[in-house]
């Protein structure tokens, strides 16, 4: 079964601080994604990647950066965290592009920005 792990699982940060959320997948999938989930908004795409070294902006990229140093790892970086970024963040991986392919999600990271 596809395996996606995230760390940390819970994080409390201060406003203006830097936060890095990490994601690792052992599926050898080319594509990886970062979403945030807020009540009433479903899942919203922040950044995604088609492979090592590539990052693309999703639907809500403002205030976030992403890094894909390897096939397995994909990080989401909040350089200057704000309370509005308090949310649950999910990482996902998926194989080749094309309609119909499954995305496999990690367990999520709860981030609270005070």
């Amino acid at each position: 079964e596809a395996a996606v792990t995230q760390s940390p699982r819970n994080k409390v940060a201060v406003t203006g601080g830097k936060v890095t959320l990490s994601c690792n997948q052992t599926n050898n999938h080319n594509n990886m994604y970062w979403y945030r989930q807020d009540t009433g908004h479903g899942l919203r795409l922040i950044h995604y990647s088609y492979g090592a070294g590539s990052t693309e902006k999703g639907d809500i990229p403002d205030g976030y950066k992403a890094s894909r140093p390897s096939q397995e790892n994909f990080s989401l970086i909040l350089e200057l965290a704000t309370p509005s970024q308090t949310s649950v963040y999910f990482c996902a991986s998926g194989d080749r592009g094309g309609a119909g392919d499954t995305q496999y999600f990690g367990p999520g990271t709860r981030l609270l920005v005070l």
């Binding site: 979403y35 479903g42 795409l45 999910f90 094309g98 119909g100 999600f105 367990p107 999520g108």
Partner: protein
């Protein structure tokens, strides 16, 4: 039904009943994914229906897709307590695996 600016939907049914969740979408897609999210976990795909399929079945699940009305539905037959979860539909407008998720439907099944 879920999509766009619509609020999160909630359904509460008794075990053994059938339930249908609806999803409408705004842009062209060749596939509709249905994901299930259990409390405290990430979403997981439960069924996928392509534009050349009007209906797809998997166990107690049945998905339909009407491309002319840009809508899809997910039905669960004889719901069980363990079906309690949030159900999302998702489309792929860019055909490049960038999924767009609906707001979700909260389903609670009680004894």
């Amino acid at each position: 039904s879920q999509w766009g600016e619509e609020n999160l939907q909630a359904l509460s049914i008794q075990e053994g009943e059938d339930v249908t969740m609806n999803c409408s979408y705004k842009t062209y897609t060749t596939v509709v994914h249905w994901y299930r999210q259990d409390s405290g976990r990430g979403p997981a795909l439960i069924i996928l229906i392509r534009s050349n399929e009007r209906e797809k079945r998997s166990g107690r699940l049945r998905a339909t897709l009407d491309t002319s009305s840009q809508s899809s539905s997910l039905s669960i037959t004889a719901a069980q307590c363990e079906d309690t979860a949030v159900y999302f539909c998702a489309t792929d407008p860019s055909s490049g695996q960038k999924l767009v998720f609906g707001q979700g439907t909260i389903l609670k099944v009680y004894l």
